[in-house]
Structures are given as C-alpha cells and as structure tokens.
Symmetry: C2
DNA sequence: TGCATATATGGTAAAATAGCCATAAAGCCA
DNA sequence: TGGCTTTATGGCTATTTTACCATATATGCA
C-alpha cells in the first residue's frame, strides 16, 4: 500500500469501527427516528449510563452523530442520512447469507 | 433491547466488524476491480501471507467475498456490489468531517 | 445553599483482535 | 517421486476494546 492508500484505508476504518458494535449500530438505527438522550439510550439497550456515554462519544468523534445540550440533558442525533442506505446494504448481505445457509442446509438434508 | 433487536444488532455488527479494518477495507475496494489471489493481496498490502489469508477468511465468513480455486491458487471476489455505495457513504462522512475540521481551524486562526 | 439528575471520564479486569512465525495441506510439474 | 508454489491454520504475544464501578462536573430546583 502506498502512504496515500494506507491513509485512506485507515480513515475509512475509523468510521466503520465506530459503527461496528451491536450497541452502536442499534443507536444509529434508533437515532434515525428521532433524537435521544444518553440515559434513554442506555435504558433502551440495557447497559450502564457510562458505557452508553462512551459509545456515543465514539460515534461523535467519528462524525456520525451530533449532540445538543438542553439543561443537563444531551440529545444525540444522526449527522448523515446516508447511513440508512448503509444499513440497507448490510441487511442485503445478511439476506444473501441466510439464502446461502438455507441452500446449504437443503443440500445436507437431501443427502 | 428485546432478544430480536439484540440478534439483529449483533448480526449487523458481524458484517461491519468484518470490513472495519484498514487491510480489509482495502481488499474490498480492490476486489471491486477484479478478482485477486491471496499472495497478490498480501503483496499489495505489504503483510504476511498468513495474515492476508486470515483477513480473507473473516470477509468470507461474513459473506462479503467468495472464493474460486484454480490449482493451488485461490481467487477472491466481491459477493455484493452494494458495498460500493457502502464505501461511498463512508467517504461522505469523511468529507463532512474534513469540512467540519477545516471550519474549526478557520475559527481558531481567525481569533 | 443543598440535593437530585444527567453526563463524562479515569481506573481496571476480561475478552477480542492482529500480526508474525512455523508448519500442514494440496496441487502442479519435471 | 520429489521439489516448488499457494493457501490455511495453530501458537504465541502485544495491542485494543469493552463494560462496569467510582467519581467528577454541570445544571436545575426547592
């Protein structure tokens, strides 16, 4: 890899790694509906408030979400609408995998 | 999270985590042009052959790439074309981040 | 002011990930 | 058959990630 290619791949990996966690994907999906504050998300996911806060700071640092303060409450919102197509693509891969796996099962049962 | 939501988020995370690594993003990007074998990719990236093989097996397990054997050589190819839009979305976030950061720099310099 | 609520952060232990080396497995060819 | 090439996998260590607890910070309200 050239230095430029390396930089490019690393930049992309930062964004992807930020979303690549069950709780954080869930957050991105939820924020698509509306804004949520930290404790709401922590409750929804069922994790510690401090853990939720850290997840949100990772997403924020990657530029995926934005925050707005209202009193002591911090509301987080999605920064980029394209993340929906993004998730759509992942779903597409999952569907393909399910099809492949069921074909495999069919073959096995057939024997 | 309900069990269903948990399962959904975890399934999505598997796909995302598979791509969320500099070398693996590079591979996905390269495979868009054409198929490559393991040693070619290892050379292109500049990593050990065994490391490349492990990266490829992660991508394959996630259903992102397919493989075809020709003699001892194994050619890997992209399984889902939608991964391009995927990368396009990441690039979009990166662009937004650059814009944000340059605005910040501008503000700082102004003071 | 004193207390409750909301969030962020440092510490820490456990788990997951990444990379290389060594080596096994499989196929090609002289 | 024997050697060469290509790929996959086990072993190992170093690094990173994750989640909780404890605690600091900040805001609102009685």
């Amino acid at each position: 890899m050239t230095d430029e290619e390396k930089f490019k791949s690393e930049s992309r990996a930062v964004i992807l790694k930020a979303i690549a966690h069950p709780s954080r994907i869930f957050i991105v999906d939820k924020l698509n509906e509306k804004s949520y504050c930290v404790c709401e998300l922590a409750d929804l996911i069922g994790i510690d408030q401090s853990t939720a806060s850290k997840h949100l700071s990772i997403l924020k640092k990657a530029g995926i979400i934005d925050d707005t303060k209202k009193g002591t409450t911090v509301y987080y919102s999605l920064r980029c609408k394209c993340l929906l197509d993004f998730i759509g693509c992942i779903e597409n891969v999952i569907k393909m995998n399910i099809e492949r796996d069921s074909k495999y099962l069919f073959t096995v049962n057939k024997v």
